[in-house]
């Protein structure tokens, strides 16, 4: 679930201490190499795994095709060549960016992936935005006075919501708002209203955790000495919350936001299936179930790259936001 972000973040952080520029470039370069290694290993594994999971020629030919048709298809697509030869040819194509043609519609596999990517990325961005927008005020409110009864009750609700699996939340929301009340469409990506349920489902699943982490950070920050300094300078509780506590609390939540964003980019297969959202997740499901190898490989690699990009973005956000990393300390 995108938690490789955290380890790599630590690596980049430690590389960006005194000695910046060059060290950071080297660390980034090292991670790009890791990505390449990952992609190569991933595609290799996928290649062999998929070939082992069924005979695509049979699937393509259909249930009641005769042996001749199947064989003809096999030859036409090159499935009759030795596995190793197929692999070499496949890898050399990959190196040139050629993922082959989709077995379903003979379009370039990468085209289907590129066509589906915006849907996933835009949903991820919107859901992440909504999550942060929901979680921030709630987290700040909770953390500022955690012992009051109404806040304890809220914490309990958040706890329950956080534990409920995302797709269950989605199904329940569909039930309430689409099926019973008919207010919002349950399927597809057409029109503004169709964005609501998928985005809200994802946010309702992710926001509780962010809110709780934020609340914990806020609570901790209030105990810090610099809050005491601000109080001694006459600041009111509200000013302290906004000007002193929240910036530090939000900083501490960047890691979680990063991993949640990575999760959104790579892991919302079920949500996309439920809402028939035309994104990478649904593409992955359809192509996997229909053994459309080229598309599966292209989609899986695309997801891996997206998750990696999310990680890099988080690192950059860290660097940009934390002054202790941006500048060198003299002390």
């Amino acid at each position: 679930m995108g938690t490789a972000v955290e380890i790599s973040t630590r690596k980049v952080l430690s590389a960006s201490r005194p000695g910046n520029g060059l060290r950071f470039a080297r660390a980034a370069g090292k991670r790009c190499l890791e990505l390449v290694l990952l992609l190569v290993t991933l595609s290799t594994l996928l290649f062999f795994l998929l070939r082992a999971s069924g005979d695509p020629a049979v699937t393509l030919a259909g249930a009641d095709a005769d042996a001749e048709t199947v064989q003809a298809i096999r030859v036409a697509y090159g499935f009759d060549r030795p596995l190793f030869v197929q692999y070499l040819s496949y890898m050399s194509h990959l190196a040139r960016g050629d993922f082959g043609l989709s077995l379903a519609n003979s379009e370039p596999a990468m085209k289907a992936v590129l066509w589906a990517m915006p849907a996933t990325v835009s949903l991820a961005l919107l859901a992440m935005l909504l999550t942060v927008v929901i979680a921030s005020p709630i987290g700040a409110w909770l953390g500022a006075a955690p012992d009051r009864p109404e806040r304890r009750a809220t914490a309990v609700i958040l706890y329950i919501l956080q534990g409920t699996p995302g797709f269950v939340v989605a199904l329940v929301l569909i039930q309430i708002f689409a099926v019973q009340a008919g207010w919002l469409p349950a399927i597809g990506r057409s029109g503004l209203a169709s964005w609501v349920l998928p985005t809200v489902s994802l946010s309702l699943f992710l926001a509780p955790k962010l809110a709780r982490v934020l609340a914990a950070n806020v609570g901790e920050a209030f105990k810090e000495d610099y809050v005491r300094t601000a109080r001694a300078a006459g600041a009111g509780e509200g000013q302290i919350l906004v000007r002193h506590v929240l910036p530090n609390a939000l900083l501490g939540s960047i890691a979680l936001v990063g991993s949640q964003f990575a999760f959104l980019l790579g892991g919302v297969v079920v949500i996309e299936t439920i809402f028939a959202w035309p994104g990478l997740g649904r593409l992955l499901v359809q192509s996997t179930l229909s053994l459309d190898f080229p598309v599966v490989q292209a989609a899986a690699l695309a997801v891996a790259v997206l998750v990696f990009a999310a990680g890099m973005l988080t690192d950059l956000l860290f660097l940009a936001a934390d002054p202790r990393l941006r500048t060198q300390g003299d002390a």
Partner: protein
């Protein structure tokens, strides 16, 4: 006797309630498959069916109860596999040579970024539908979570004074691992295991929702959720039943995990009650 944290008690309470409900259906396994087309989609409370019946007239509560062992069994198996693999490899990475460490960490990275769905479908195609397949897939993809935590903590523990002292005293590595490093990790490992169990339960349900892994007609909760979709309007209980079962179980597990973490954490050890 240390007082048990409220989370632990709450989680246990929920589990007990769930178990009690399950025990009202001693014949669940038989009833789960009993098709009764005359009484399809009957609402909760009719014909003595507490939660109603599904599209084939089967008692929904019986199906939920019967589905529990399947889902829970897969989750338990996957968690065990992940823990065993993860702890072993994590320790190996912490103690081993630079090459070993680097190799293990790279494989861990790969395991974590491998698309779960693809792996599950491929595994099902090779090994067939069934709990064992899912256990293998989920376990093999998630051990890295334990490995990373064990690796990081083992590294930290290695530098602690009593471990260094043992090493200087000539104690051999495996003994050090077993007697000193592992016990220090156990508290957080236990809590993590419980949480992981909950995650595996959700993952198994998600996979069976998509139709991967659960044999056709098996009362897996995820599959039941998927089956409920065409009937959402007439029979909302088809969704509510398994959803509540799943959510309640996950909630109970989360509570117990938090409770165990509190109970076992070193900062609790010295508290007087």
């Amino acid at each position: 006797m240390r007082r048990a944290p409220v989370e632990l008690l709450a989680g246990l309470a929920i589990l007990i309630v769930l178990l009690a409900v399950a025990f009202t259906k001693p014949g669940a396994f038989a009833q789960a498959g009993a098709i009764d087309l005359l009484n399809r989609l009957s609402a909760p409370g009719t014909e003595g069916r507490l939660v109603g019946s599904d599209q084939l007239g089967r008692d929904l509560l019986a199906r939920i109860v019967a589905g529990a062992p399947w889902s829970l069994g897969v989750a338990a198996g996957a968690t065990s596999l992940a823990v065993v693999l993860g702890v072993t490899l994590g320790l190996a990475a912490a103690e081993g040579s630079k090459w070993t460490r680097s190799a293990i960490l790279q494989v861990a990275n790969l395991a974590l970024s491998f698309p779960g769905l693809v792996a599950a479908v491929a595994a099902v195609a090779v090994l067939g539908q069934g709990a064992v397949t899912l256990i293998l897939v989920l376990g093999l993809l998630s051990w890295a979570l334990f490995a990373r935590v064990v690796y990081a903590e083992a590294l930290a523990v290695r530098t602690r004074d009593y471990v260094v002292a043992a090493r200087i005293g000539g104690v051999r590595s495996p003994t050090i691992l077993w007697r000193h490093v592992l016990p220090a990790l156990t508290p957080s490992l236990i809590a993590m295991t419980v949480f992981h169990f909950a995650d595996m339960l959700v993952a198994a349900s998600a996979l069976s929702f998509l139709g991967v892994g659960a044999p056709l007609g098996a009362p897996a909760w995820g599959a039941m959720l998927a089956e409920s979709r065409p009937y959402l309007y007439q029979a909302p209980w088809l969704l509510a039943g398994p959803a509540v079962a799943l959510a309640a179980t996950v909630l109970a597990l989360n509570l117990m995990g938090d409770g165990l973490a509190k109970l076992l954490s070193p900062s609790n050890a010295g508290r007087r009650r």
